[in-house]
């Protein structure tokens, strides 16, 4: 069992109530303050979607396809009692397509259903039991069609394609240098193939929306990350204009990407329902419904082939990434891109070819999840590094050190690592706290004890030029006569601390108390579009705009006046990106990390005990130390969960783990405390130097765990999650 140290708590700093920058010790914004939303959340008075009650509110439940791939032949609705309604494709006044990027996902299935769970219609009414009875008596006749359920089936050509003629939703490719020549002259060629499985977010608050139709206007309340994504989707689905649609985020109980694009679908459902019934309609998912039918992390299959020199320098790397997109494209293209831009990781490789494809299957739709393709890429890459180490009989760290990126080196897409690359500092720090290399030596002869390391970057903000070309974030600050200042943005608090950190940034710049900064849950009637709460962009991009606006406001400050300052994102000079060729600076800023996980494998049950978790991160600057540490704690545990116990397999389109009972996430007893070190490396364009931590804190964890297990059992691990069953399989198949 891992060591439980009864650490003294004397070092916990009691945060002060009011902070102006003049009262921050050493004027350091990193000093933690009491989270603004903590009191109401602790006391149970914070209002989540399920806590809202509207007069005459009705409930809605979704009738879904039990078939993975079928043609709908007929739907027979029984006579409905008064006050009960069916809402289906005929009740979509606008376009029956959820605006995500492409328009392939319908709000309600039209002719075909493409995955188990594909929504057909809603039953709406006052009594939940009556709704369930009505649902049971609806008869749907299907003509079942053959389905595609795995990446192999999608690409084998043996089954009838379900998308275009090759089942490939989207593909990209980029390369640099000369692969062919390098491979032909290579000292050694090594190949590896790696698989990752599904992951479900299990935000503690299930998905939910309430639609209210009043005075020709549809208002949708809900748990979400991106109010304007939802509004734009509603515009398309309702065919209404801006003035007649309102989206209000309600206090959100966790999201992790699962409430990035998926809410647009159910917001539409709630909107169509309220429009039809003329009453407020609440649509909240049951947990098992949420587990089985909402978007999941993309399963992946990644093949790597590399040419390695005599001194284990990686001279060329050919990477083939395949993601299982599920039944609809959604955000798969962007996720694929991030996976592709991460796939050479912390290593400077001169000759690269990266090919990426998202395949269509009749599985549950894959979508946004913290890390967004990078965890899958890093699993393959870092395990492949370990393979190189084995082939050359050197340590993994030796291979890493031979190939690490330095400041000024080119990125895999031909951009440049312009800023300092803190890898040596991270390695020193992580060695100091974990004793990694000593343990590697020690565990060489110790069967079943192992230690693994991952080193990686996270490209902060949107991939490529989206910030400049698509989002064009606008931030507004409003000063009231009483000297309170309101932050008007569309970004949300979802647990990651923005309600506190963004207030801190504004308060610090204005030299006012945090208590005097207002920041409500965004309402699209009141706030401009500052972009979605995704991609670890909120503090770095939106926080910076808030800081800029606050500084401008301070210059114009007049105590008795009320006025507004509006600022818009301006793309910094010197960062160029070609979105067609996928060439240039894919990201403006990189956060860096090193993670070490130590494990002990039980030789009889093959269960894995995590003995220790150590992290060293460069996230630029902590706007609030405790909040950053909280993100690191949460990200690492969620990441190790993905690498170890979060098993979600699909067979014939049906998830085998489809309830919170069967899909296991970490409890307080599963993993020990995370050791966290922060390394100083401020980003000059971030507020106080801050970059992104939300995903940086997750992406290296799964592979650090897998590498530790591989180190312990001394046999290659080629897929996650690394379950006891898989370990047994690996050990017994010699």
């Amino acid at each position: 069992m891992w060591q439980l140290k009864d650490k003294s708590l004397e070092s916990i700093e009691v945060p002060s109530k009011k902070y102006k920058n003049s009262t921050y010790p050493n004027k350091d914004i990193s000093t933690s303050v009491k989270r603004v939303d903590s009191e109401e959340k602790i006391g149970g008075t914070a209002k989540y979607l399920g806590d809202y009650k509207f007069d005459n509110m009705l409930y809605a439940k979704t009738l879904r396809s039990p078939k993975a791939h079928a043609k709908i032949k007929s739907i027979t609705i029984p006579d409905l009692p008064d006050g009960y309604y069916i809402v289906d494709k005929n009740d979509v006044p606008g376009k029956n397509a959820v605006k995500i990027i492409f328009d392939d996902m319908p709000y309600f299935a039209d002719e075909y259903v493409n995955y188990i769970g594909d929504p057909l219609l809603l039953v709406v009414g006052k009594d939940k039991e009556k709704i369930l009875n009505i649902m049971e008596s609806i008869q749907v006749e299907y003509e079942e069609l053959d389905g595609i359920f795995t990446i192999d089936e999608a690409l084998s050509g043996k089954k009838k394609p379900i998308f275009n003629n090759d089942n490939v939703f989207i593909k990209y490719n980029f390369s640099k240098g000369s692969l062919c020549e390098t491979f032909s002259k290579a000292h050694k060629i090594i190949e590896g193939e790696y698989d990752t499985g599904y992951q479900e977010h299990i935000y503690l608050e299930p998905q939910g929306m309430i639609g209210v139709y009043e005075n020709d206007k549809v208002s949708v309340y809900g748990s979400m990350q991106c109010p304007y994504y939802v509004k734009n989707a509603l515009k398309q689905g309702l065919g209404f204009d801006d003035e007649h649609i309102q989206v209000i985020q309600t206090t959100t109980g966790g999201a992790f990407g699962g409430k990035e694009e998926y809410p647009s679908l159910i917001a539409g459902h709630a909107a169509f329902a309220t429009l039809k019934c003329g009453k407020p309609v609440q649509l909240i998912f049951d947990r098992d419904e949420d587990v089985e039918f909402t978007t999941k992390r993309h399963p992946s299959k990644i093949k790597i082939k590399a040419a390695i020199s005599e001194e284990w320098k990686i001279e060329a790397m050919d990477i083939d990434i395949i993601l299982d997109g599920g039944a609809y494209i959604g955000l798969s293209g962007v996720i694929l891109q991030r996976a592709m831009f991460a796939c050479t990781g912390a290593y400077n490789i001169e000759n690269i070819n990266v090919k990426g494809r998202v395949v269509a299957t009749n599985n549950v739709v894959s979508g946004a999840y913290r890390g967004f393709g990078a965890p899958q890429a890093y699993f393959a890459l870092e395990m492949f590094i370990n393979k190189i180490a084995r082939e050359f009989n050197v340590t993994p760290l030796a291979v890493k050190k031979r190939n690490f990126i330095k400041q000024g080196d080119p990125t895999c897409t031909g951009g440049t690592f312009k800023d300092p690359v803190p890898i040596p500092k991270l390695i020193n720090k992580i060695e100091e706290v974990s004793g990694y290399s000593e343990k590697v030596k020690e565990y060489k002869d110790k069967k079943y004890k192992g230690i693994g390391m991952s080193v990686f970057y996270h490209g902060c903000g949107f991939t490529g030029s989206a910030e400049k070309d698509v989002i064009k974030a606008i931030v507004k600050l409003r000063k009231y006569k009483d000297d309170n200042v309101e932050i008007l943005i569309s970004n949300v608090e979802m647990g990651q601390g923005t309600t506190t950190t963004l207030r801190k940034i504004a308060a610090y710049a204005l030299n006012i108390n945090i208590e005097d900064v207002i920041y409500e849950n965004p309402d699209t009637d009141r706030v401009p579009d500052s972009g979605p709460t995704v991609a670890s962009r909120t503090i770095m991009i939106v926080g910076k705009l808030i800081q800029d606006a606050a500084e401008e406001m301070k210059d114009k400050w007049n105590s008795s006046e009320s006025f507004e300052v509006t600022v818009q994102y301006k793309h910094p000079e010197g960062y160029c990106w070609d979105n067609e060729k996928l060439h240039g600076d894919a990201y403006n800023a990189y956060a860096w990390g090193a993670n070490v996980v130590e494990v002990e494998v039980n030789p009889i049950t093959y269960e894995v005990d995590v003995i220790g978790i150590w992290t060293a991160f460069d996230i630029g600057k902590a706007i609030d130390e405790k909040i950053v540490y909280g993100q690191i704690d949460g990200g690492m545990i969620q990441g190790i969960g993905y690498g170890s116990i979060e098993v979600m397999n699909s067979q014939g389109g049906r998830l085998k783990q489809r309830t919170i009972t069967d899909y296991i996430i970490p409890t307080a007893m599963d993993f020990p405390k995370v050791n966290r070190e922060l390394v100083d490396n401020p980003y000059k364009l971030g507020p106080h130097g801050a970059k992104g931590v939300g995903e940086t804190s997750f992406i290296g964890a799964p592979v650090a765990f897998a590498a530790a297990v591989e180190n312990a059992i001394n046999k290659p691990i080629e897929k996650i999650p690394v379950t006891p069953e898989y370990i047994m399989e690996v050990l017994e198949n010699d």
């Binding site: 708590l9 009191e39 602790i42 399920g50 299990i202 503690l204 608050e205 966790g254």
Partner: protein, 158 residues
Amino acid sequence: MIKEIRFVLNDKKVSVEIDTLTRLLDVMRNEFHCLGVKEGCGEGECGACSILLDGKLVNSCIIPIGQVEDSVIVTIEGLKKTERYKVLQKAFQDAGAVQCGFCTPGMIMAAESLLSHNPKPSEEDIRVGISGNLCRCTGYAMIVEAVKLASIRGEGLW
């Protein structure tokens, strides 16, 4: 079956006439406006609906109201009125133990239950004590610290 069920809720004698199979969670939320009792799963797995039933920590989503006749129930709404809650609240705030907050009331109930039975828990005791409460945001460490802090600061209260 509709029946009148009488019990004590947060120090008050109450009664409700309702189908005896109605989930205690729904009675708490819909009949008594105890919205701090959350539905996270409805399967008895996540602990967001945790309340104290006759001194025991239970998942109210899997308890039928018929079962609580003559019982004593405490929800976060009731606990809030105590000195012990004030200590727990401050400890959770100081330790940074709250992120999205959805698991938090349940965690507070679990902490109250643990400390009532074991006022000086070790870290392992705490991790066992909150093992029935899932949290997806914090990785648990700061929650564990918060409970430890509360046990130290609240010496004599439990």
